[in-house]
Symmetry: C2
């Protein structure tokens, strides 16, 4: 935080705008939680897990094999996904099966893909 924030010369014109924009901002805590949610998507290992779960529910061991990673590493990442309520799990004997918990995952990843593939064609 800064005590004295420098301001540009159009000050009076922009003051109104800044206030309007400020009022439109969602609650601080909500924005923080939102950032936390996207952090979860911000790792290729976790994205690979999510794409795997697009196809079917999968157990931890199979995920480890699929990703070529330690079971421990996968388990740690699954916990992150679980905390964000992006995956659900079901126990069957010794095995735990994970699945997608939420339809938003597909939309979010789909929109991300679109953005990547269109790269600067679209203007809003």
């Amino acid at each position: 935080m800064i005590g004295e924030t420098p301001r540009c010369e159009y000050l009076h014109a922009h003051d109104e705008l800044v206030e309007r924009v400020r009022r439109a901002q969602p609650d601080e805590d909500l924005l923080y939680d939102l950032a936390e949610l996207y952090k979860v998507f911000g790792d290729s290992t976790r994205i690979r897990i999510l794409y795997a779960l697009f196809e079917s529910e999968v157990c931890v061991c199979d995920l480890a094999q699929l990703l070529g990673m330690t079971q421990s590493a996968v388990s740690h990442q699954l916990r992150v996904l679980k905390n964000a309520k992006l995956v659900a799990y079901r126990r069957e004997g010794k095995t735990v099966f994970y699945s997608l918990a939420d339809g938003h995952v597909r939309t979010i990843l789909g929109q991300g893909m679109e953005h990547l593939c269109e790269e600067g064609e679209e203007r809003i």
Copy 2:
């Protein structure tokens, strides 16, 4: 990477599944880029900037005032957003105005918000 990946006992049943899931996985590089994209959303400062740009194009100085942050910090974050092609900019004299570059931003943030607010009601 691991040489000897441990595997669960249902091996033969799951082998087929693992192969099917593997084939469905998007290209490794694409998944990496996708993760990079979500990392950009994974910071509350950048999200606040994006929500500000929902309302109007805004200059760097006003963003700094709105966020209560250094102009430098804002500028650094704007570069991240610019590199991800999430914002566009327009120069007018000394002032630079930033705006949203892409409609996907609204969808992605909207879906994230929905996910946060529904928290575990929906099952896919």
